[in-house]
Subunit: 344 residues, 4 copies
């Protein structure tokens, strides 16, 4: 068993990592750190872990991790990961980071978007963007992987086949709907039950921090157009549905469109292209590492409609992180991650 540390384990991506790794046959958690909750029993904070993690959260120190672990998952807030990741790499660990700190190629762009000075700009060249469906070999050879944001995961998996085929030309509109857990465990009015329940609202129209992340990655994949990202908060726990409207370079019929997707993802374990005339639903992937994609080519021209769903905490965060770590450790990529969503 490969021994892992989880740094910043008290948030929702942390508890989800603990859940996933509790059933993983090749990686086990030895240390879970949490600044605020050091000294608190893990299963006291998350009753779901009763009987699975009954030790305490500990304070972070590089030695506490490095003395017992070969690999580390870092679930710290944006801006706090940088220094910790640096230390862990220096101590010889492989690291998967769930923050945005190592997602961008350019420190300047990161600083503009997130507002923190980047402390480890040189590392950006070595960090690999953790979307194995697009950059599998790079992930497998990496010491440091940055897990994509939850929205970019749903969007990139949905757009990659068209981008690679050079078929995107003109505006791409991403109308995404996210469950509230995407905003994390941090208390906020937008995540307050009486505010969020029985409610739908857009936010951050054209200004969300995941938009430039998508743009940077889509450019690498061959995007030929512009992108507008409009996120919405939906009254559900988990799940992202990205409905994407793609202006195509040429008329593409329903059959060809579907074939492009089916071919691209033929050998992928986690990305499932639904049959023609199907529509995906977030609940079908809830609690799983699966991504479901459907495509529609409305008659008479108009944009192609690509619909992609993931569980934001699994494929969009902790599940994606484990998938990357499996590759980095030479384990079968899908180890500990295979299974249907929890429906209903």
């Amino acid at each position: 068993m490969i021994k892992a540390g989880v740094v910043g384990a008290s948030g929702y991506t942390g508890v989800e990592l603990l859940r996933i790794l509790s059933g993983h046959p090749g990686i086990e958690v030895e240390v879970a750190t949490a600044a605020t909750y050091a000294g608190t029993r893990i299963s006291e904070l998350y009753t779901s872990l009763e009987g699975f993690y009954d030790d305490d959260f500990v304070e972070y120190s590089v030695d506490a991790i490095a003395s017992v672990c070969e690999v580390a998952f870092v679930g710290l807030p944006h801006g706090e990961s940088m220094g910790v990741v640096d230390e862990l790499l220096d101590a010889g660990l492989k690291v998967v980071d769930l923050s945005a700190d190592f997602r961008f190629k350019s420190a300047a762009l990161y600083e503009e978007i997130y507002g923190f000075e980047h402390k480890s700009p040189l590392l950006l060249d070595h960090a690999v963007y953790g979307l194995p469906e697009a950059w599998r070999e790079e992930v497998a050879g990496a010491k440091l992987v940055a897990v994509p944001g939850c929205y970019p995961t749903a969007a990139l998996l949905g757009l990659m086949p068209l981008a690679r085929a050079g078929l995107i030309s003109g505006m791409v509109i991403i109308d995404a709907k996210s469950g509230v857990s995407g905003a994390g465990r941090k208390l906020a009015l937008a995540s307050h039950f009486p505010q969020a329940s029985d409610n739908m609202a857009p936010y951050g129209v054209g200004s969300h921090r995941h938009q430039p992340e998508m743009v940077e990655r889509l450019d690498m994949l061959g995007l030929g157009g512009e992108l507008l990202f409009v996120p919405h908060l939906a009254p559900m726990d988990r799940g992202i549905l990205a409905t994407m409207y793609v202006t195509l370079a040429r008329q593409v019929g329903q059959d060809e469109l579907h074939a492009i997707y089916a071919d691209t993802y033929l050998d992928e374990t986690f990305v499932k292209v639904l049959p023609p005339d199907s529509f995906p639903e977030t609940k079908a992937v809830r609690g799983s590492n699966n991504c479901h994609i459907a495509v529609a080519a409305p008659e008479g021209g108009g944009p192609a409609v690509v619909m992609s769903v993931i569980d934001n905490l699994v494929k969009g965060a902790s599940g994606g992180a484990v998938q990357c770590m499996n590759l980095m450790c030479g384990l079968p990529e899908a180890t500990g991650l295979i299974g249907p969503g929890i429906f209903p």
Copy 2:
């Protein structure tokens, strides 16, 4: 008090009409019909009406209505309204119909979309589309008003200012999210709680029956482009959020865009244009006849984003119906309808 009949009162638009009219100072319900529930106490079917409507639903007959009522609301399924509306008009009543039967100008188009032969095609010329914000005088002078579909209400209020200004040029994408009550009281798997809860899904991409209704009406308002409508089911009771992406005929800045909307709706009681940089939320209009609209002109070109929210059962159905009936009866348009949404 003007005496009203409600035909087909056992569905969700029916109970909502009863609720609204229970507090209306100028119109009162004398007869409520329901085929399946004739003989059942109204407040047994809808406990919320306990103490308000403790009489029984009765079977429909034109005489039962016409002998005591001056006006009628018809909440029958599509295809069943036609004959009934005909009879009621012949009996001298003013009628507001909530089905699709009289929404289209062309019987052929109706028949193509809804699959029923139209029994009263001549009436289509006299029927007025019940969106007072667009056709107020026509509604006021009508004997028969067809209440718009819930999605078209949200969409048309959001697009009318741009359409009238001749600013729409090219593709309009309407990504709409609806609460489950929009599908009515009829049992269906898509409305089954374990299916709909904690879930988001698109449906009827490009093929929903409200798309041609929107197109017909937008053409009358000056639309210069094409339209793609993609509805989604959201895990909430009530509410429609239409997020609309509009290709503009020319670059329009945020200030001008906002001014166009503010000017259009300056004197409207129920349509409220939110301040710049605000976003609407469905819960803010829940249980009310209000429509909230916000607009965003993303920097660097790209489509304008228009966001419109209504309560599908109020402004999108029964509230809109009462608003029309007020006009038809010479009452102040907003009678019995003014009030904030139920928040939280």
Copy 3:
């Protein structure tokens, strides 16, 4: 129109007061204060109030209120109401207070339960408990009314008929389920959407602060037994369902039991006793000032089961407050409060 001030108007009971009073024909809000949000437009904080309250929240001062208002509603946190209420009474206003500060007859008991020293113990003799169904004349003659807690409102309306009839003998168990808005607008993990959604949990078993409030009032009404109160958090916005198990002094059949309730509430506008074999549901009273009660006398002895539902923010707080103020001002008790719940 009687001019009213709302002190502490930015919480959920505040916005609900503003909503109710926006449609009240006899009382209108002149001033709304909020410490944190002074200077913020009311309808910016609560978009639902757009077009209804577009002025700013102001800072509280007794002069600001007293110079323009005859009556005041105080929606401040427990412990903060006392001083303010004192001042407003001294300035000649009639006051309805929504906190717990004036609910108890004994300052010592209040201090034990809420942990604050009572600053105005002499006022406790003059404060009237604002449950008009039990103490109507006292409310009508009061200068200061303390609105009951939301749980006590549901429980007392459910138990009063049996208590008055001297039929309670032995343990009364109140198993209550509340929507999350009952915990207010203050951010807390228990009210965080990902925590509260799709979840049910008990809390404060036998130790909730509403238990002694219920006990004090039930004793006044003739309770002959002991009481155990177990609250639960339910994944809904609004609504309290109290399921109560009452050990009776003697065998009482279903017919007699129902008759006791029907007789007690025969002339009440807001309390509706459902027919035998019916069960109440919270959604039937959502957004209304109604209370629905059903009773069951299980065969073969055993406790009577009394089920009572209210909307915690209306009958359980702001609606109850307006009902009291109507009485205090000599207006018809139900003014501005009549109407069915918002269903579905």
Copy 4:
């Protein structure tokens, strides 16, 4: 791998069995039957199973099952299981039945409660009630196991320690709250989203069919009192919370009460007794086979409060079924079932 058939696989217990068994290392599904959906691809009906079960549902015949399977799970409606179970046993299979057909010892009692004549009364002597925590050896030696109802599972696990200790004396009240999936996939108004969402309601007070099932089993475990069961529908997908009020034979303090539970369940994999002063929540066990129990002994006498949560579709149905089958097949009892709940 032991080959299994799932008879009646298109309902919610069916899809949950398929999900659980998709990750089971010792049992695999060879045949899934469904009367209505024979010929439909399984993953078309349940998109969550895309890539896991892409074969079709088939029609049931004993030969189709018996020719390839050693064991069978029967998920047919009450009254339809009897004949099928008979056939499968005759064909030599071990059977776990999820209906009520074999839960009672007395055919007469079954017939009274469920209204069907029992076709295989002799089998009732051989059927074992599938609650391994109470009857482990019997389950391990059985050819036919009847999985308990979801409510009885939650209630019996909560009451067994007190019943066995002879501490129950007098009334036991079970106030249970269930998610909507407990009512199954069959369309019904009570499960219609606009009806069930944002709503809480009791039903079947004292008359639910699970009450006699609980009584029969608690009598076997030593119950010394009477039982009143009041179920409630809660607006959540999954989960049962049973809050139980138990009149004790003698005063039992918090420490002793907790110790009784901790001792009883010390060696159980799936039943976790929470620390003193904790409360269970349904979401902590969502998607898992775990049962969390907490106990409280309110000061000054009064009933003990026992709170028990399970996922109704897992521990309350399909997970419990697999746990039994593991025992019947000589596999480790917890095979394929260990893991934390999906939180949040």
